[in-house]
C-alpha cells in the first residue's frame, strides 16, 4: 500500500504542470452535522451522527459499503432528508432547504453527465439556469475546462469521452457554480487504477487551488489516507473514529478501524502483571508477549486486543540482542510473497501466524521459506485497540 502515492513517472503531467493560471479561489463553508439519524424501514442507516467539518477542509467519509456514508453525503446535498437532526452550512440550518437551493454541488459515482448535451453545455448547465450573460458563461466554461484539463474538448458529446474525461466534465460542471462545499460520491471508483491515482492527485491540487470544503466519500482507504485532511471512519451507521490519516493509521480507535485501515496483526489475550511490575500479554496462540500499558484503567486480568502493523515488525535471520524497549519472538517462515521492492512474510510463532512486510535492502541475507527467524518490534508500536 505504501507504493500508492509515490509518483514514479518523472514526466507525469500531474507533477509538471500544476493548475495555477486563474484566480479561481472561492469561499468555502464549514459543515455541521448534528444528531442525524435515518432509517429505511426497520434498517438503521445512520444513528445519531455528529460531525464538524471545517472550512476549506478535505474531509473523507470512509467505510465499507452499507455503512451509511453515501446516505450522509446525499443528506448534505439535499437529496435525502434525515429522520431527526440537522445539517448546517456555516451557521445556517439547511436541513429543510431543497438541493437546488443549496450552495453545495455534487460529483456522482456514475458521472451523471447529461448525455444529450455537449461538454460545453454540460459545464454551462448551472450558469445557464441562472440566466447569466452568454459571454461571461463562455469565459467561465473555458476557465473550468482548463482547470480540469479538457481544453479543446468542449464540442464533444459525452459518448465520445472516456470515463476519466466524463468525470472531469462532472467536476467542472459542479465547480463552475462556485459551491461552498463540493461533495464527491466515490467519484473515482468506476475508473481504472492508474487513472484513479492521477485524478485523485488532481483533485487534491484543485482543492488546494480553490480552497473550498471537499467532502469525499470512498470505501478505498488508500484514496482517503492519501489526500484527506481528516477522515471519519464509519461502520453500520456510526462513526468509529475521526482523525488525520496518521492518527487513524497509527492510533486506531478500535479493532475495526485497525483492521479496516491498512493491514494489521491482531493479538488477543489477557494482561498479567508480574511481581516485578513486568506487564505481559498472555495469548492463547502466540504465548506470552511483553507489552507496555499506559492506561491506568487497564488492570491485571483484563482481556486485550492489540494491533501490530506488519511493517513495524523486523524480521531477522539471526538472534538480535533485544533492547529493553523491544520485544522479540522466534518463529518459522511459512510463506513469502514477493512484490518488487518489498516482500511479505508469514511467520509462524507457536500457533500464531504473523504478517510482516519488509522493504528489501541491498546485501540483505535472503530469507527462505522454512527458515528459523526472529521477529523484533518496539513495544510502543503495539496499540491496544480493545480492552475490557
Amino acid at each position: 500500500m505504501s507504493t500508492y502515492f509515490i509518483i514514479t513517472d518523472p514526466f507525469s503531467t500531474i507533477v509538471k504542470e500544476p493548475v495555477n493560471i486563474y484566480d479561481i479561489s472561492m469561499l468555502g463553508s464549514s459543515v455541521g452535522i448534528k444528531n442525524i439519524s435515518k432509517n429505511f424501514g426497520h434498517f438503521k442507516v445512520l444513528s445519531d451522527i455528529n460531525l464538524e467539518i471545517k472550512k476549506g477542509e478535505f474531509f473523507s467519509l470512509l467505510g465499507p459499503s452499507g455503512c451509511g456514508k453515501t446516505t450522509l453525503l446525499r443528506m448534505i446535498a439535499g437529496f435525502d432528508k434525515p429522520d431527526t437532526g440537522s445539517i448546517f452550512l456555516d451557521d445556517r440550518n439547511v436541513t429543510d432547504i431543497a438541493s437546488n437551493k443549496r450552495k453545495v454541488n455534487t460529483v456522482f459515482q456514475n458521472y451523471a453527465v447529461f448525455p444529450h448535451l455537449t461538454v460545453f453545455d454540460n459545464i454551462a448547465f448551472g450558469l445557464k439556469l441562472k440566466k447569466i450573460d452568454k459571454k461571461i458563461i463562455q469565459k467561465e466554461v473555458f476557465t473550468f475546462l482548463e482547470l480540469v484539463k479538457l481544453n479543446g474538448q468542449e464540442r464533444k458529446m459525452p459518448s465520445q469521452l472516456s470515463g476519466g474525461q466524463k468525470q472531469r466534465v462532472a467536476i467542472a460542471r459542479a465547480l463552475i457554480n462556485k459551491p461552498q462545499v463540493l461533495l464527491l460520491d466515490e467519484p473515482l471508483s468506476a475508473l481504472d487504477a492508474k487513472l484513479r491515482k492521477e485524478l485523485l492527485i488532481e483533485l487534491d491540487q484543485i482543492h488546494n487551488e480553490i480552497g473550498i470544503t471537499f467532502i469525499y466519500v470512498t470505501h478505498d482507504q488508500e484514496e482517503a489516507l492519501g489526500v484527506s485532511d481528516r477522515i471519519a471512519i464509519m461502520k453500520d451507521g456510526k462513526i468509529n473514529q475521526i482523525g488525520t490519516s496518521k492518527e487513524i493509521y497509527e492510533k486506531p480507535a478500535d479493532a475495526f478501524v485497525a483492521g479496516f485501515i491498512g493491514e494489521t496483526n491482531l493479538l488477543k489475550g489477557s494482561l498479567s502483571i508480574t511481581e516485578n511490575k513486568e506487564t505481559k500479554l498472555i495469548t492463547e496462540k502466540a504465548g506470552s508477549i511483553n507489552i507496555l500499558i499506559n492506561n491506568p484503567k487497564i488492570k491485571s486480568g483484563a482481556s486485550l486486543t492489540v494491533s501490530l502493523r506488519p511493517e513495524k515488525i523486523n524480521i531477522l535471520p539471526i538472534e538480535p540482542t533485544v533492547k529493553i524497549t523491544h520485544e522479540c519472538l522466534q518463529g518459522q517462515v511459512k510463506e513469502i510473497v514477493y512484490s518488487g521492492f518489498q516482500s511479505r512474510y508469514f511467520v509462524k510463532t507457536k500457533q500464531n501466524i504473523m504478517n510482516i512486510i519488509k522493504v528489501h535492502e541491498a546485501n540483505e541475507t535472503r530469507i527462505r521459506r522454512g527458515d528459523k527467524v526472529f521477529l523484533e518490534w518496539e513495544k510502543s508500536d503495539m496499540n491496544i485497540v480493545e480492552f475490557s
Binding site: 438541493s99 437546488n100 448525455p115 457554480n177
Partner: protein, 282 residues
C-alpha cells in the same frame, strides 16, 4: 455474398413472400388504382387518369382532410399529455409489472366491443347520464354521443396504451441520477423534466406520438360509431367512396394520401433516431 448472409436471406424468404403478398402488393394496387379511371358500378377502367387527385382539391375533401388532421392532432396531444406522467409513474413504481399488465388488459377485449361499451356509457340512457341525473347535476338527459368530442374521447381511450408502452420503455431506461444532478446544479423539478428528462427520452416521445397519431389519422370505426354526421374523417370518406359512391380511384387516392402522411412521420422518426444514435456515438 458471404455464406452467412446467404443463409440469412434463405431464412428471410418466407417472411419476404408474406410481406410481398399481403403488404406490398395491396399497397401497389391501391396506388395504381388511384391513377386509373373509375367504372360506373365500382371497379376501374384501365386508362391513366389524374382525376381522382384533381377532385381531392375540392373544398369538401380539403375540409375533411383538415377536420381529420385537427382531430388527430388534438387527440394525440391529449394522449401525450396523459401518457408522459402515467408512463413516468409506472417506470418509477415498485409495482410496475402490475401496472403494465393493467395497461394491457383492454387489448383482451375486441376493439369494436370496447367502442360499443363507450356507447353504453355515453348514450342517451347511458351510465353517465344516469349518474349525473341521480346526482341532480342534470335535469334532463344530454346527448354526449355523435359529435367530435365523443370521437376524441374514444380515440384517446383507444390509443393511450399505444403511447404509454414506448414511453414507458424509454423512461425505464432513463438514468434518474441525471435529474438529481440537474437539481444539484440549481434546476427546479420542472426545469429538470424539460431540460434533462424530455430530451433524453425523445425517441420514446416520437414513437409514442406516431403510434397514436398514425392509427388515429386513418380512423374509421370510431368516428363511424360515435361521431355522428359532423365527424366525417378520411377513413369514413374512403368507405363512402368505395361502397356508396363507388369511386374506387378516389378512395385509393385518399388512402394513398394517408399512407404518404404516415410515411412522412415515420421518416422523421427514423431521422431523429439516427441523429440521437449519432449523439450517443453508436
Amino acid at each position: 455474398m458471404t455464406e452467412k448472409s446467404r443463409l440469412g436471406h434463405f431464412y428471410l424468404f418466407p417472411l419476404t413472400i408474406w410481406s410481398i403478398l399481403f403488404f406490398v402488393s395491396p399497397l401497389i394496387i391501391i396506388i395504381l388504382y388511384s391513377f386509373l379511371t373509375k367504372d360506373i358500378y365500382g371497379g376501374v377502367i384501365y386508362t391513366f387518369s389524374l382525376k381522382a387527385y384533381q377532385s381531392l382539391i375540392q373544398l369538401t375533401y380539403l375540409k375533411v382532410f383538415w377536420f381529420t388532421l385537427k382531430i388527430s392532432v388534438i387527440s394525440t396531444a391529449i394522449i401525450m399529455f396523459f401518457a408522459i406522467p402515467v408512463s413516468y409513474y409506472i417506470a418509477r413504481s415498485p409495482l410496475k409489472n402490475v401496472l403494465l399488465f393493467l395497461v394491457l388488459i383492454p387489448f383482451w377485449t375486441n376493439f369494436l366491443i370496447r367502442i360499443y361499451a363507450w356507447i353504453a356509457i355515453m348514450g342517451n340512457n347511458g351510465f353517465l347520464n344516469q349518474l349525473l341525473l341521480s346526482l341532480h347535476v342534470l335535469k334532463t338527459n344530454i346527448q354526449f354521443l355523435y359529435n367530435p368530442i365523443a370521437v376524441i374521447v374514444v380515440l384517446v381511450y383507444t390509443y393511450l396504451p399505444f403511447a404509454i408502452l414506448p414511453l414507458y420503455a424509454a423512461i425505464d431506461k432513463f438514468d434518474f441520477t441525471l435529474l438529481e444532478a440537474s437539481s444539484d446544479l440549481g434546476a427546479s423539478r420542472l426545469q429538470g423534466i424539460l431540460k434533462v428528462l424530455l430530451p433524453n427520452i425523445r425517441t420514446g416521445l416520437m414513437a409514442a406520438f406516431l403510434f397514436a397519431f398514425i392509427p388515429i389519422f386513418g380512423a374509421y370505426a370510431v368516428p363511424q360509431l360515435v361521431g355522428g354526421q359532423e365527424s366525417f374523417m378520411l377513413g369514413n370518406m374512403i368507405a363512402r367512396e368505395l361502397t356508396i359512391t363507388r369511386n374506387w380511384p378516389l378512395a385509393s387516392a385518399i388512402a394513398t394520401i394517408i399512407t404518404l402522411v404516415t410515411c412522412l412521420g415515420i421518416l422523421l422518426y427514423i431521422r431523429s433516431v439516427r441523429r440521437s444514435d449519432e449523439k450517443d456515438g453508436k
